[in-house]
């Protein structure tokens, strides 16, 4: 069988189709490099898992590259990969359909192992194309500065999962080809299926009213939750079971395809026992894997809603990942995060998991309205789930000692430090030393801002370090967080933010000043929106009534024209006296 696989691979590699697709995949990779947060590109992941939706970012580690391979076969680019698979399958079986006599007069051609050899050959060539395409990410200049050789040991596991996924689609192609006996129909159906599957997973499932189904499906599509923080997903069992389910599906579909092929006139009467056995075995794997996955998902959904925990009505007795209303409670793994009501005791199970690790507790952020409530949303008495929105929260961060972020992010953190260096230099007026960097994988925990000041340094969502996140909004958050250690009030911190921001982007400060002037004049809401729209057309604007990433600047100014006026006054004084002098005066005043 090995020799046959090799001969098939040779046949396929000499066919130009795969080259074309490999090049296309390279182009896709070039336009869509992986990051932690790239694995959440689909709206589904936006649903309570807490990873951000952003675009391109440099390849940060070898582990990230492995995840890119998974992403290529499972994300939107799977349309391309599945088309490649369908071309390869139809090419491989084409002689059987056209000049079938010699092949079908041999005793082995209809047997499961010779069909399996073609399946494996197609899958090897397809995964080879994907790997080749993914390698293009190494060539991108943005990668060179941040790539670290960490996470390589994860690559074989990711490749196996990607390979199983490819085998599944190759089996589906074979089934359709044997069913329709038409190359064009098969390729067309595969394109339709892939787009349909992508649509379902991206839109339809996320619109379902049942949290459980969504969470189950989300666990099934666990590769969107893979990150340096949780290399096997937020629910590793679900990730592994997903592999079992896909393998089972591949075996079952392959069995069904072989059984279908057994009904060709040339093979009639020979018997299809092996094909039926495969079909049965595959179904057992699928049912078993799906059953265990359902059970595991259900086991990790708490029997209570978030508000019940916040109001102290229930006990957080075991490591539930989600609440019943779909809110993320904890992010288990080497870099664990746990969300708790302020001052609530850390559960015993969390303490047990945190042994030999560093446990930090911070009051960071507030509960946002994100997530779904199973409560009654009709008019009437206030919904308790909505009532707790805005309530403060405590984050329990559990890190291995001395490692505040996964080693895979080392290059990204280094670059981030370099990028904010001008701000850090200015912040040295009130800040003695460079802050440590703490990184969180799931930004859902962070509330309104993506960067927070904590006693030891800065706590930021991993995606803040990526390239394409709108730079100015990212820097406002960083600036705002850096002003926290000044000990000044919020209005003065807004002024300090402007000062820090000026070190990175003077134009942004000019736009912010213009906006503050408008605010100070007390414009109507409509005028505000028009002004913002105009500014948005200019590009870089991030200040706006609905923009959560504006640092504290807008928050102070938006609600209060006088506050905007005072921020501007501070800025003018700073300009007159020299900002450093003025800030020192402010700091001395604060000390007195």
């Amino acid at each position: 069988m090995g020799r046959m696989v090799w001969l098939e691979i040779k046949r396929l590699l000499r066919q130009p189709t795969w080259w074309i697709f490999a090049v296309l995949i390279i182009l896709v990779v070039d336009g869509q490099e992986p990051t932690v947060s790239d694995f959440s590109l689909e709206p589904l992941s936006d649903f309570m898992i807490g990873l951000s939706v952003i675009g391109r970012s440099p390849l940060a580690s070898l582990g990230e590259w492995g995840r890119l391979v998974l992403f290529l076969v499972g994300g939107l680019s799977s349309v391309l990969v599945n088309l490649l698979i369908s071309f390869l399958v139809t090419y491989s079986f084409h002689p059987e359909l056209v000049h079938r006599e010699v092949l079908w007069s041999t005793p082995e051609v209809g047997k499961v192992h010779s069909v399996g050899a073609k399946l494996l050959a197609v899958s090897f060539v397809a995964i080879f194309s994907v790997i080749l395409g993914a390698c293009a990410a190494f060539l991108h200049p943005s990668t060179w500065g941040v790539l670290v050789l960490v996470g390589g040991s994860l690559i074989p596991i990711y490749l196996v999962f990607a390979f199983v996924h490819v085998i599944l689609w190759a089996a589906i192609c074979m089934f359709l080809l044997f069913l329709t006996q038409s190359r064009r129909s098969t390729i067309g159906l595969i394109a339709l299926f892939t787009i349909g599957h992508w649509f379902l997973s991206s839109f339809a499932v996320s619109k379902l009213p049942w949290t459980f189904v969504k969470l189950f499906y989300q666990s099934y599509r666990a590769y969107y939750c893979l990150s340096p923080f949780t290399p096997f997903g937020v629910l590793p069992t679900a990730f592994l079971l997903r592999g079992v389910i896909e393998l089972g599906l591949a075996v079952a579909v392959f069995g069904a395809a072989s059984w279908l092929r057994g009904h060709y006139p040339e093979w009639k009467g020979v018997g299809t026992t092996a094909a039926k056995a495969l079909l049965g075995f595959g179904i057992i794997l699928v049912v078993g894997g799906a059953g265990m996955s359902l059970w595991e998902t259900n086991r990790n959904i708490a029997p209570f809603e978030l508000w019940q925990l916040w109001l102290g009505k229930v006990e957080f007795g075991r490591p539930y990942i989600w609440t019943r209303d779909g809110r993320l409670l904890t992010y288990l793994g080497r870099y664990m995060v746990l969300r708790l009501p302020p001052s609530a005791d850390i559960p015993a199970w969390a303490q047990a998991l945190a042994q030999c690790k560093q446990v930090n507790r911070y009051q960071v952020g507030t509960l946002t309205g994100k997530g779904e409530s199973s409560g009654d949303k009709r008019s009437g008495p206030p919904n308790p789930a909505e009532a707790i929105i805005g309530a403060s929260q405590d984050l329990i961060l559990v890190y291995p000692r001395g490692q505040t972020y996964p080693p895979e992010l080392e290059g990204m953190v280094r670059r981030f430090r370099r990028q904010i260096q001008p701000m850090l230099k200015r912040a040295a007026i009130w800040q003695r030393e460079d802050p440590s960097i703490f990184v969180l994988g799931a930004y859902d925990f962070l509330g309104a801002y993506n960067v927070y000041s904590i006693p030891e340094g800065l706590l930021l969502a991993a995606f803040v370090m990526s390239d394409t996140f709108r730079a100015s909004s990212k820097w406002w958050d960083v600036a705002w967080a850096l002003t926290a250690s000044s000990g000044l009030n919020e209005l003065l911190r807004c002024y300090l933010s402007l000062y820090l921001m000026e070190a990175l982007d003077k134009g942004e400060v000019e736009r912010a000043s213009a906006w503050l002037q408008d605010e100070a004049k007390g414009k109507s809401l409509q005028e505000e929106e028009e002004a913002l729209a105009r500014l948005d057309e200019q590009g870089e604007v991030v200040l706006g009534p609905s923009c959560p990433s504006r640092g504290g600047l807008c928050e102070c100014a938006w609600l209060n024209p006088q506050a905007a006026q005072r921020i501007l006054e501070h800025w003018r004084r700073g300009e007159e006296l020299g900002h450093e002098n003025y800030i020192r005066m402010l700091l001395e005043g604060a000390e007195r």
Partner: protein
Amino acid sequence: MIKAERITKHYGQVKALQGIDLEIGAGVFGLLGPNGAGKTTFIRIIATLLPPTSGRATVFGHDVIRNKIPIRKMLGYLPQEYGAYPKLTGREYLEYIAILKGIRRPRKQIDALLSQFHLTEVAKRKVTSYSGGMLKRLGIAQALLGDPKVLLVDEPTGGLDPEERVRFREFLMGLGGERVVVLSTHLVEDVAMACDRLAVLKQGEIAYQGATHGLIQLFQGKVYEVEIPEEEVEGKLSAWGERVLTTKRGDAGRAVRVLGEIKGGRPVTPSLEDAYLALIRS
């Protein structure tokens, strides 16, 4: 041993075979007939690729419907168009077919066949670069992989140049022995050179089966040759119609062979082609 009993095959309203009874033993057996006579259909039935509508066929005692695999294990088959994989080299293609035939360690056999069919030098070239003759030789080589007890060759000399055709016939003659070789063709000269026995198919029925010389004897004394001037050729041929078997240029006009006695004609010993045509037209 191939045995067919009252085999019929219908494609909708078309009756491709109508009650064929045939026994084929060891040696080279010719299956002769015009296009559409049902030769390929019969070959496909024997090759287990096509179930007959009714009747029974066995190969060495194995039923072509119920015991496909044992038959395929002893079968070598060269259809009219066999579609070799163009992206593989000649050697790789033979290796591929050897695997499908379940042959373990086929390298020596492949080497021998490549040498036998003068393909060694081009064995590493992709099949797509082969000439028609090379492809036919590669086809017969793949059919012979595994030293099959039954060899079915369907129109093997089509597309070959005269030299290759002669070489191929000589090769077929050497294949007999214990092996059952069925040569299906509409070219009488192929059968004349290579086969001791033959069957003639006509519109899905057996018109003749037996020794090759027996078919000639069947028409002994019934074929006449007459030489006619060139200017009378058109009128005479038109008048004799279906009785005309062959014509060739003579010394003083055209030598025409006709079935049945004819004025001015002299009886001649018929060739196999004369006999075949006489049978088909009678």
